[in-house]
Symmetry: C2
Subunit: 344 residues, 2 copies
C-alpha cells in the first residue's frame, strides 16, 4: 500500500543513462556533461524524483546532520539561542536533530540516541557533559561543542561567557553606586553558570572588604525569583541591591519588590540581571543587566564544530567571551556613570 519510491535507477532508465550518471547529476562538482544533467533532471522531474539523503549518508559516511541538545527552553534566552543556531546551520546546509533534556536528566542517556543517527557533530547547551561521554564521542570521531558550559580538560570544545568577570563588574557597579547591603539570587545551584556568577560576585565583594551578600535561591525561574525576593525582604537584614543570576528571575524579583513589597526600583532597591532577554528591555521593566555576546558565541560554537568536523585533527578549544553591561533603569548608578554630561 506504501507508495513506490522513485529511485535513481528509475530515473536512469527514464533518462537513458546509467544510475551513476544520475548520482553525478546531483553531486556538485562531479564530472557530468550538461547534456546528461539535463536529461537526468527532466526525467527526475517527470517521475518526481529526489535523492534519498539516508542512502547518501550511509555510503558517504556523512549525514550532514548536527545534533543539538537543549535544556531549559523555559528561559527565553535559549529559544533565542536555538533560533541563531538553526539559522546558521540551515544556511550551511546542515540538518538539525534536536533533543530536549530536562535539567535533572543525565545527558549521558541521551547522547547514544543521537550518535546512532551518525550526526556529524553535536552542540550541547545549558547541560553539562560527563567527561566519560565526551571521551566516548571523541572515540567515535564525533566532535562536540559545548555552549555556555565547559568540561575541565575534556574532549570537547566550549564557548562560554566569562561569567566570573561579568559578575565582578556587577559587584563593582553596585558598590560604586553606594549600595552597602547586597543580595544574590541564585539560579539552579549546581550549574556552572550559577556557580561562576556567584563566585565572581561574592569574591569581588570580599575583595572590597564588604560584608558577604545575602542569598536566596530562585532556580532560574520567574516564580523562583519572585519568592526568593519575598523571603529576602522578610528578614531583619534587608538588602538595598540585588544581583540575580538570570533575567527571568530578576523580572520576578522586580514584580515582587514593586507589586508585593511596595518598594521603588531603583530608589529603594537596585536590581541587576543576566542574559538581556527581550523582556528585560520592555518598558515595564527596563532591567539593567549583563548581555552575553550570544550571537558571537553561537557563531564561534558553529565555527568550532564545523572546523572539527572537516578536520578531525583540530585541537579542542575553550573560548571565553566577555559580557557587556546594559545600563537601563533598574539599578542606581555611580555618579560618573549616572550623569556623564555633568562632568565635561
Amino acid at each position: 500500500m506504501r507508495p513506490e519510491r522513485v529511485t535513481s535507477s528509475d530515473v536512469a532508465k527514464e533518462a537513458g543513462v546509467s544510475q551513476s550518471a544520475v548520482s553525478r547529476a546531483y553531486t556538485p562538482g562531479a564530472s557530468v556533461s550538461e547534456a546528461t544533467k539535463e536529461k537526468v533532471f527532466a526525467a527526475a522531474k517527470k517521475l518526481g524524483y529526489q535523492p534519498n539523503a539516508i542512502a547518501r549518508s550511509l555510503i558517504s559516511r556523512r549525514s550532514n546532520m548536527i545534533g543539538i541538545v537543549m535544556a531549559d527552553i523555559v528561559n527565553p534566552f535559549y529559544p533565542a539561542v536555538l533560533d541563531m543556531f538553526m539559522r546558521l546551520f540551515q544556511e550551511r546546509g546542515h540538518r538539525v536533530m534536536l533533543f530536549m533534556a530536562s535539567r535533572d536528566q543525565n545527558i549521558d542517556d541521551l547522547l547514544p540516541r543521537l550518535l546512532e543517527y551518525q550526526v556529524d557533530g553535536v552542540v550541547i547547551t545549558s547541560v553539562t557533559l560527563s567527561s566519560e561521554m565526551a571521551n566516548y564521542c571523541a572515540k567515535l570521531g564525533t566532535p562536540v561543542a559545548l555552549f555556555n558550559r565547559y568540561v575541565p580538560q575534556a574532549e570537547a570544545s566550549s564557548v562560554c561567557c566569562d561569567n566570573i568577570d561579568a559578575a565582578r563588574n556587577v559587584a563593582d557597579l553596585l558598590l560604586d553606586a553606594g549600595h552597602r547591603r547586597l543580595g544574590y539570587i541564585a539560579g539552579v545551584e549546581n550549574t556552572s553558570t550559577n556557580q561562576d556568577r556567584e563566585y565572581g560576585f561574592t569574591s569581588r565583594i570580599r575583595e572590597r572588604r564588604m560584608p558577604s551578600p545575602l542569598r536566596e535561591v530562585g532556580h532560574y525561574t520567574y516564580e523562583g525569583g519572585f519568592e526568593a525576593a519575598l523571603r529576602l525582604f522578610a528578614g531583619e537584614d534587608k538588602p538595598d541591591a540585588l544581583f540575580c543570576a538570570n533575567d527571568i528571575m530578576a523580572l520576578g524579583v522586580m514584580d515582587a519588590i514593586r507589586g508585593k513589597l511596595n518598594l521603588r526600583i531603583p530608589e529603594d532597591v537596585s536590581v541587576i540581571g543576566f542574559d538581556d532577554i527581550a523582556s528585560a528591555g520592555w518598558e515595564g521593566y527596563r532591567l539593567t543587566t549583563v548581555r552575553p555576546p550570544a550571537e558571537k558565541m553561537v557563531e564561534l560554537t558553529v565555527q568550532t564544530l564545523v572546523d572539527c568536523i572537516n578536520d578531525p585533527k583540530q585541537p579542542m578549544v575553550a573560548l571565553m567571551e566577555k559580557g557587556e553591561l546594559v545600563v537601563r533603569g533598574s539599578a542606581r548608578l555611580p555618579e560618573q556613570l549616572h550623569m556623564p554630561h555633568a562632568q565635561g
Copy 2:
C-alpha cells in the same frame, strides 16, 4: 584518519554468531535465544558497538524521524509548544529534525529538504502549507499535520484552536462589561490566526449593532503592539477596550498605555490578549487572555500524525479545540462575572 566504525559483522565475529543474530539481538521481539543475546551484548560492549540507525532506516524504510517546521520562535507561545512536541516525540522514541522558517519564507522550499531525509511524518506550526506541497507529501506517503493552521480541503490533517469562537467571546465580554469603543490590535495580517481572531471579534460586534472597532496592526510583536497602542490613542476617537491578537502584543500595549499614556488598566482601558503565555500571568501584567488548550492540541497533533504513519489509509482530520478565557486583572468585567459572590 577517521576512526573505524564498529559494525554488526565485527560484533558477530567477536561473539561467534552470525551477523543476522546481532541484528536480531537489537530488534525487540525478534526470535533470538537469551544465550545468543548475551553473547552479542557482551561482544558489543567490548567493541563499543551501537547499531547504525541510518542503515536501519534505509533497509527498513522507516527513519523514525519526524520533521517539525516552526516559525515565529520569538513569540513565547511557540517555544512552549515546541517543548511539548519534543517531550511527546522523545517519549515515543521518535527523533525530531527541526526546521525554522521565517514567516515570510515560503515553506515549499523547505519541505523537500525535510523529505529527502525520509522523515516518517511532518508537523508544521505557524506556517501555512500550499495545497500543491500538501499533495506532494501525500504522494510520497509522508503524512503532514498542521498545528494552529489549516488548509482548506488539502491532503493534511490539522489541529487548531477555534479562534473565531474565542474572539466572539472576547467581544461579548468587553461589550457586557459596558465598553462602547472597542479596538483591535492585529497580528501579521495574512495569517489565518489573525484573520480568524479579527473576524470573530468584529463580526460579533456587528451582530450586537455596535460600531466597528478601531484597528491598528502590531505584527505579533511586543514593539509592534506598543507602537500600535500609541497610534490608536493619538487619534480623536479613543478606544476604551483593546483586544490584541496575541499576548506578546498585549504586553506591549499595556506598557504603552501605562508607561507612555499614563492611563490605568483596567479603569481607563481594558486589555485582552490571546495565547496565555507565561508572562501574561506575571504580577506586573496579570493579563486577561484566551488560553488555547495547547497541551491537548499538541497531543492531538502527535496522535493524528502517528496514526497516519501507522496506517496510511487513515483519513485526514481537521480538529478544532475551544479556547478558554483566563480572567485576570487587565479587563473590566460584567457585574455578574466581576462579583460572583455578590449574587448568591
